[in-house]
């Protein structure tokens, strides 16, 4: 009713105002085109070419005209629609349609996502028509799940405790090298050979090293935690960044121990709880009466990382409802109030660092067993930045947001590799994969403008009396170290 009157009123206003509004829009678009002409005229209009061995100039008036026309027309359309003074801005009350859709689909979304993740190898095999053909998709699934797990791990430190950690890759590296060094170590192998059996260490190394890698990484988390306890915000970020680099440089330079830049190769592969994936009669395929296929191992790896990621999610969700998890969130909200309530903030911070690092260690161990090779090149700052971007895009503190962000970022990056059809428009010399990072950056900017607090910005309370109401992102603090 009210909207209707407002609309008719605006229509009445618009009718007499229209000619002047149109001429104003036209004028504005004209000036925008002029500026564009001034900009691209010299930049795009001239092209240097080598003609008969000498440098010459080519002119490209058509390209310039097209670019200026795009700006002129685009500006005109925007002036008449979105920026039009007569436009009635719809005022929204309550949550946005998007938020309402999410709330409505909320209860079904998580199980559906989980079911999809479990059924993914089957879907991949069926859709690609064979085990070997599905390898690319399943590898992509493994990659995405690894980052989901890393994102969830970092989420504890950054999202819950509000401690900005730019060196998370260090714990990933600690986990990976823990497995690589222990699994390839001759003394350890000899020890178990003498104690239990010749093949024991080769078959069980991963399953024994997995918890060890988590514990080592957790200890390293504490070691990093101690010196940065008193730091906040930017200072904390820089020290953690340096820590990530130090670990990488140590890995490169301590050649005797880590193999230096050459890395560690021929790391034992994953086994089906002691049963190797090989063509022998004691292998996985023979024992289960299947035809040997190397894809069995890949699919098993997929389920291993899925289980590890789900463990991370389960523990995080549980911890949030425990005093330690509430203390992390309280630390993010107000450290001084925490201390006034008797919370030992040192312990709270260290526990957050250690728990986050532990999951990074698990993921690192998995990385080493999947690749069969580790080198310092795999643990650069890019990985930290990527994980942090996933956490920030997903919405700090949100499990589902981080999972979706990881899938979108890594899946999206991969999809951008497959833009071959663009060649039909731009000619055969056009290489779409070169524009991958550009589009990726653009997408990130768009998301940050559209959803500055990440995909899921609301916070779920950990306990409720009568009704669970999610807390608006505006009230939730981001933490400052």
């Amino acid at each position: 009713m009210a909207a209707h009157t407002a609309e008719s009123a605006s229509a009445e206003n618009a009718a007499p105002a229209s000619p002047s509004a149109f001429s104003h829009a036209l004028k504005d678009a004209f000036f925008a085109g002029l500026i564009m002409l001034g900009l691209v005229g010299p930049l795009v209009g001239f092209e240097t070419v080598i003609r008969d061995g000498a440098l010459g100039l080519d002119y490209r008036p058509l390209t310039v005209a097209v670019m200026v026309a795009i700006v002129f027309v685009g500006r005109l359309i925007l002036n008449l629609t979105v920026w039009s003074p007569n436009r009635v801005v719809k005022t929204r009350t309550g949550p946005s349609p998007m938020a309402r859709a999410v709330t409505a689909a909320g209860p079904a979304f998580k199980p559906a996502l989980l079911a999809f993740a479990v059924a993914f190898p089957l879907i991949a095999v069926l859709s690609q028509g064979g085990l070997n053909e599905s390898r690319y998709l399943i590898d992509l699934g493994i990659l995405i799940l690894t980052y989901v797990m890393l994102g969830w791990g970092l989420n504890i430190v950054v999202g819950l405790a509000g401690l900005l950690d730019l060196g998370y890759v260090a714990f990933y590296a600690v986990g990976a090298y823990t497995y690589a060094l222990l699994a390839t170590s001759a003394p350890v192998n000899d020890f178990f050979a003498a104690l239990i059996g010749e093949k024991f260490w080769a078959d069980w190394a991963f399953w024994i090293c997995l918890p060890a890698a988590g514990i080592f990484a957790g200890v390293w988390g504490m070691i990093l935690g101690f010196p940065v306890l008193r730091l906040r915000g930017d200072y904390l970020a820089i020290v953690t960044l340096a820590f990530g680099e130090i670990i990488r440089l140590v890995l490169i330079n301590w050649v005797d121990f880590t193999g230096g830049g050459a890395g560690i190769a021929s790391i034992p592969r994953v086994t089906f709880f002691g049963i190797p994936f090989n063509a022998s009669e004691h292998g996985f395929a023979a024992l289960f009466g299947l035809k040997f296929d190397p894809m069995h191992r890949i699919i098993f790896l997929y389920f291993v990382i899925l289980a590890l990621a789900l463990l991370t999610a389960f523990v995080t969700v549980r911890l949030r409802k425990l005093p330690v998890g509430r203390a992390w969130e309280a630390l993010r909200e107000d450290e001084i109030a925490c201390r006034s309530l008797g919370l030992n903030t040192t312990n709270v911070k260290l526990s957050a660092f250690a728990t986050g690092a532990m999951f990074g260690g698990f993921a690192g161990c998995f990385f080493a067993v999947r690749a069969g090779f580790v080198s310092p090149e795999s643990f650069t700052f890019d990985i930290s930045a990527m994980i942090l971007a996933i956490v920030v895009l997903g919405g700090m503190g949100s499990q589902i947001g981080v999972a979706v962000a990881a899938a979108v970022m890594l899946g999206g990056m991969e999809m951008l590799r497959n833009l071959g059809f663009l060649k039909q428009f731009f000619g055969n010399e056009f290489d779409p994969s070169l524009y991958r990072m550009l589009l990726f950056g653009l997408a990130m900017v768009v998301i940050m403008v559209w959803k500055p607090r990440g995909l899921v910005s609301t916070r779920d309370p950990t306990i409720y009396l009568k009704e669970k109401k999610s807390v608006s992102g505006d009230l939730v603090k981001e933490g400052h170290g």
Partner: protein
């Protein structure tokens, strides 16, 4: 309350829960607190008042461990006040406190801030409210029971496994939170984010949160600031009930004289970091030094007032 006429029989002298002894706090050349000594009686409501910048909040920060005093001793006594030899022994052996069966003594100036609240059981609120705004009202009260719950969950291990004993502890903590929500009249807002509450409710929630940590001494930094007269009255009732039902002693900083004079048993007046008056509300109200500090006197009148003060002290001593 029993012997109001005899000045030597004030409760804060007989059974002090907190003795502030020769407290100094210097920030570089600035002496914010200058040789301050006073006592907080067990079960009393003690008000610390003074003009702006008198050093009241600095004293609070020293008591609650957020500042380390430059000099001085802060003795907090659970159960009964320590005897002089006991106190000397604790002070000299360099320990932070002496926890015993009949009496526990804590030297607050030696404790880190989180242990002042966690072990010595001194809770505080803040002048500019510090709630966990992004957490719900109920969650705020659960965080306040962190130490008890941490013990009950054996550092989260029981909780991770979901053992029944943990669930019982969690339930008990929730009931306690509900009790305090009822006390401060916020039960129907339990599931709302703390940052969404109106100002007065935030003040009450902060007191409830402090009480959830089971304090024996509650330090309130301007609890009535920004409250309307009706809310101030409710605050008075709340503070009285806290003292009556839980035996918690209260130390508060307040500018609102309707609150101070109404509920306090003992008032300490601070000006420029020095104590200028100490006594019952009536005694303080009529103290010419207090009147001079609050209302100010002319340059010429200073001597006059000082003479008057001296006369008052002389008559007070003789009577």
């Amino acid at each position: 309350m029993s012997l109001p006429t005899d000045t030597a029989a004030h409760r804060w002298d007989i059974d002090p829960i907190l003795s502030v002894e020769h407290l100094f706090m210097r920030f570089g050349g600035l002496v914010a607190v200058n040789d301050l000594s006073f006592k907080v009686g067990r079960g009393d409501i003690t008000a610390l008042i003074g003009p702006n910048g008198a050093g009241k909040t600095t004293v609070f920060n020293c008591i609650t461990g957020f500042y380390k005093p430059s000099e001085g001793r802060l003795v907090l006594a659970h159960q009964r006040p320590p005897t002089d030899p006991e106190l000397t022994a604790v002070t000299l052996n360099g320990e932070r406190g002496l926890a015993g069966a009949s009496s526990s003594v804590y030297l607050l100036e030696r404790l880190p801030d989180y242990r002042v609240s966690g072990d010595a059981k001194v809770a505080r609120t803040f002048q500019n409210i510090r709630l966990f705004t992004g957490m719900t009202v109920l969650e705020n009260l659960m965080v306040a029971q962190h130490n008890a719950l941490m013990k009950a969950s054996v550092f989260s291990i029981k909780g991770l496994l979901g053992l029944p004993s943990w669930n019982a502890a969690q339930k008990a903590a929730r009931e306690k939170a509900v009790y305090w929500l009822e006390q401060v009249n916020l039960l129907d807002r339990a599931d709302d984010p703390a940052g969404d509450l109106p100002y007065g409710a935030q003040r009450r929630l902060e007191i409830a949160r402090a009480m959830c940590s089971d304090p024996i001494l509650l330090c309130l930094d301007e609890p009535a600031a920004g409250l309307n007269p009706r809310e101030s009255l409710e605050l008075n009732a709340l503070l009285r009930s806290i003292r009556a039902d839980h035996g918690t002693s209260i130390l508060l900083i307040e500018h609102d004289m309707s609150v101070v004079m109404e509920i306090s048993d003992h008032v300490v007046v601070l000006d420029y970091g020095t104590k200028i008056s100490d006594g019952t509300p009536d005694a303080v109200k009529n103290d010419p030094r207090v009147i001079a500090a609050y209302l100010g006197v002319d340059e010429d009148a200073v001597e006059e007032v000082e003479a008057e003060i001296d006369a008052t002290i002389a008559t007070g001593a003789s009577s």
